[in-house]
């Protein structure tokens, strides 16, 4: 279950000022709050060296934090926007190198999850779960991953992915329908 934000909105402005000044304690709090979800997002995006990517995202956050204005949830969405840019770059790079499979291990996985019980699903490995996500379109998979990671609302996912709330809701519905079909398939 994704952790709830450890920095309440009422304190976030002070935290943001301290972070802009380079207070390492505050940066640690921000990292503990966001890094686990970011790492999950990066792993789900099949980016190589996920932990390094998380480090790069935080460096980029530090570089641009002076430009950020908003509350805690806005900050979290902003950080994920930066991470998503890395995902988009990775997808584009892979599209240019079509001869290279996205992830042979994931693609070799046989999606025969028919009649899988909830408990059983929770026991399967990450690669198997991601193999199902990979059966979705990129847009649907992105929405599902964000939904699973941070409990984002459709509006917040729209902010991260630069889509309208209605578009995100439609992607969610289609993704759920596709997952349901995959999970129910014999």
């Amino acid at each position: 279950m994704p952790p709830t934000p450890t920095i309440p909105d009422r304190d976030f402005a002070a935290h943001l000022r301290a972070a802009k000044a380079g207070n390492e304690t505050i940066w640690r709090a921000l990292y503990d709050w966001l890094a686990p979800q970011l790492l999950g997002f990066v792993r789900a995006s099949h980016l190589s060296d996920p932990e390094d990517v998380v480090g790069d995202v935080f460096l980029e956050v530090a570089r641009r934090i002076d430009d950020f204005k908003g509350d805690a949830r806005g900050f979290r969405a902003w950080v994920f926007t930066i991470a998503r840019a890395r995902r988009v770059d990775e997808i584009r790079r892979r599209l240019r190198r079509t001869e290279e499979p996205l992830d042979t291990a994931v693609h070799d996985f046989a999606v025969d999850r028919a009649n899988v019980e909830h408990e059983a699903l929770a026991m399967v490995g990450l690669e198997e779960l991601l193999a199902l996500v990979d059966k979705l379109t990129d847009d649907q998979g992105e929405v599902i991953i964000l939904r699973a990671l941070g409990g984002w609302t459709a509006r917040e996912i729209g902010e991260i992915t630069c889509r309208s709330t209605g578009s995100v809701e439609q992607l969610q519905r289609r993704a759920v329908e596709a997952l349901r079909t995959l999970l129910d398939a014999p």
């Binding site: 490995g125 779960l129 409990g151």
Partner: protein
């Protein structure tokens, strides 16, 4: 996790049970904190970058100010020494002459001469004609004074309009001063006394024309007594000879005759 059936728009909760379980399992698998060593490294790097950027604007302002100050002072110093590249030195010297500042910024050694040559109505041809600097040096040696006036008539000289003043700067360069129009570099007397001060070829024709114009307009009154005597003496059929023959006529008549004469009529041997 939030109630997925609602947030995902599932109309049939019973059928979304597996999807909900799937998302929970996916979240549990994905959300994983980096190890402590990695986390500490990331945090330290991010905080350090934020600190650097927080100090950046103030530091950059100081750096920019210091750089500008050094540039201005350095450029000014080099300009005073006359060491800037030619166009820049000329521009700085021009500005310094316009501004009411007690600063004498020299013009570039050579280029200012040419630019002045092109810009003034009466070109300072003598400042770079053969012999001027030599005669200046000779006069300086005789008088024991540095700077002054000279009326030189070297054999190579093409015109008798040679009254000029000169001065030296601290580097030993000769500067010809003329008609209060400023300083024009002539040549380094220490090294080029025997050199010819010849204008670039592209100016030759123009200078000849200018010399002719000057002689016609106001040179005759000063030069004619001596030149006329010389011409009378040799009896040549040159322009000067014509001038002597026509002595007593009004100026307009003589100018017309000069205008009709060929450029060769102004050769130095005949004039001098």
């Amino acid at each position: 996790m939030a109630p997925l059936n609602d947030s995902l728009g599932m109309e049939r909760p019973g059928q979304s049970h597996e999807v909900s379980g799937f998302l929970t399992a996916l979240s549990d698998e994905l959300v994983l904190a980096p190890d402590e060593v990695t986390a500490s490294r990331h945090v330290a790097a991010a905080a350090a970058r934020a600190r650097a950027l927080a100090r950046g604007p103030r530091t950059m302002r100081w750096v920019a100010t210091a750089t500008a100050l050094v540039t201005v002072l350095g450029t000014g110093g080099v300009a005073l020494a006359g060491g800037l590249p030619d166009p820049i030195q000329t521009a700085v010297a021009d500005v310094a002459r316009v501004l009411p500042l007690p600063i004498d910024i020299p013009y570039p050694h050579a280029s200012r001469l040419w630019s002045a040559q092109e810009s003034v109505d009466k070109p300072e041809i003598d400042t770079w004609s053969r012999g001027t600097a030599i005669d200046a040096l000779a006069a300086e040696t005789q008088s024991g004074e540095k700077g002054g006036w000279i009326e030189a008539r070297p054999a190579e000289y093409r015109t008798s309009r040679t009254v000029r003043s000169w001065d030296r700067d601290h580097t030993g360069h000769l500067w010809c001063l003329s008609d209060g129009e400023g300083r024009h570099a002539a040549e380094d007397l220490n090294s080029t006394c025997d050199n010819e001060f010849v204008a670039p070829p592209r100016f030759d024709q123009k200078v000849d024309e200018q010399i002719d114009n000057i002689d016609r307009e106001d040179g005759r009154d000063d030069e004619e007594p001596r030149q006329g005597g010389e011409s009378d003496g040799d009896g040549s059929g040159s322009v000067d000879h014509d001038d002597a023959d026509n002595r007593g006529q009004d100026d307009s008549d003589r100018r017309e005759e000069r205008h009709d004469g060929s450029p060769d009529d102004f050769s130095s041997t005949e004039r001098l």
